[in-house]
């Protein structure tokens, strides 16, 4: 399989502060990659660059063979983004939110009917489809947010701490959904939950002070404990 995401010499500076420094990375199609690192390591900045929301200061990023700065709109069609923010309109209903975002992705009415029904069934939200988003629980909103991000059947799913604010059951549901989605798509997930992430990923990238400190295959590590030890060693060594 070829690289679906290719990052070369990526740098990002914010008013003199270096957020990312010389990131080089290739992510294969179908991989489930988790990105670990302490607060301020540059994880979210990296994800936002891939989402085309922030322009890199220098370096090149190619997604699906397209250059990020030149083909942002085409790249966005390939990407589904999930964050701890829901990106949902509280005063619109569940169905209206999905329909609106589906239209934004250029889906036809016929395609929308099929996709909305399928996603609402997958997310167990079909009985709430006429309810306003403001009446949903945090877990339901997160499930709807996932449905929103999958409405156009993306090839790449980018997630920024998707477990934030979820109770145990909702987190388990989310994990199941992610595993189902990852069968078809390439997934990049930023998280602090090492135990949960270890069980579902193929590859672990550890970011520290805007650089890649470690890039490990999951099969090369025996357990989440070993991963925690590696993680701790990197940051204790850096301290």
């Amino acid at each position: 399989m070829g690289s679906i995401i290719s990052v070369k010499g990526l740098n990002k500076k914010f008013a003199g502060h270096v957020a990312l420094h010389d990131i080089n990375l290739n992510i294969e199609q179908g991989e489930f990659v988790i990105i670990l690192g302490p607060n301020g390591a540059g994880k979210t900045t990296f994800l936002k660059i891939l989402e085309t929301l922030i322009r890199p200061s220098s370096g090149s990023v190619e997604i699906g063979g397209m250059e990020l700065n030149r083909s942002a709109l085409q790249i966005r069609k390939m990407i589904g983004a999930i964050s701890h923010e829901s990106y949902l309109y509280s005063d619109l209903t569940v169905e209206e939110n999905l329909r609106f975002f589906g239209k934004m992705y250029g889906l036809s009415d016929d395609e929308l009917i099929v996709r909305i029904q399928l996603l609402l069934e997958q997310m167990h939200l079909e009985y709430r489809y006429l309810d306003r988003v403001s009446t949903l629980s945090r877990g339901m909103k997160q499930r709807l947010s996932i449905a929103r991000s999958l409405i156009h059947d993306p090839e790449i799913i980018l997630m920024d701490e998707p477990y934030t604010g979820l109770d145990l059951q909702s987190a388990c549901n989310l994990e199941r959904l992610l595993l189902e989605s990852s069968k078809k798509a390439t997934v990049l997930m930023v998280t602090h939950d090492i135990d949960r992430a270890f069980c579902i990923c193929d590859r672990i990238i550890i970011l520290c002070d805007g650089t890649i400190s470690s890039d490990i295959r999951q099969k090369d590590i025996s357990s989440a404990e070993e991963l925690k030890n590696i993680y701790t060693t990197i940051f204790d060594g850096g301290a």
């Binding site: 922030i54 709109l73 990407i79 990106y87 309109y89 509280s90």
Partner: protein, 224 residues
Amino acid sequence: MIRSLYIAAKDLRTELRTKQVLNSMLVFSIVVMVIFSLSLSDVLSDSSVIDRLAPGLLWIAFIFAGMLGITRTFASETENSCLEGLRLCPVDSAAIYTGKAISSMCLMFIVEIVTVPVFMVLFNYNIPNIPVISIVILLGTAGFSVVGTLLSALTVKTRTREILLPVLLLPLLVPVLIPAVMATGKILAGEGIVQIIMELRLIAVYDIIFFTLARMLFDYTLEG
């Protein structure tokens, strides 16, 4: 263009459902009309005085009611980071801007459609040439929305947006307000469309220039 219309339709559906902004805009413009009609009650019988006061009065109500609405244009998108969600879609930022400008314009039209008859009733005044004054109001409102939407996006992340937006917006509106008020005055004085062609041209040129500029600059506004 179709995606701009979806964005505008989404905004209008939300607003007509919650009426958070529309109610304030309507109440404001009606209160302005009531206060002025009370304070000018002595001269209400003299239509020549109303001829001179009406253009300013109407545009004060439109612009300040519009200001209430325009500050909320992007504020509603900040909840749940919806603006970021919108930017994640394969939609040109100019289309987002156009959709927002259309929805702001529609809200102002609703207010204007209510305000003008209220003015006519309270001031016992008959507007002579409704189709022509509608063109002036339409073009003036377009100019207001075009600039206001851009500045609303620019100030949405600032803490003092309610103060900052009028300070930035009002000076920029002067080139559209002067011809709009003058054209309205001429129509109320009984003149026709031929006599206000120059004013209409000025407003139309303003609208086109600022609409084009705003579409070009909007991407940078969102990133900032």
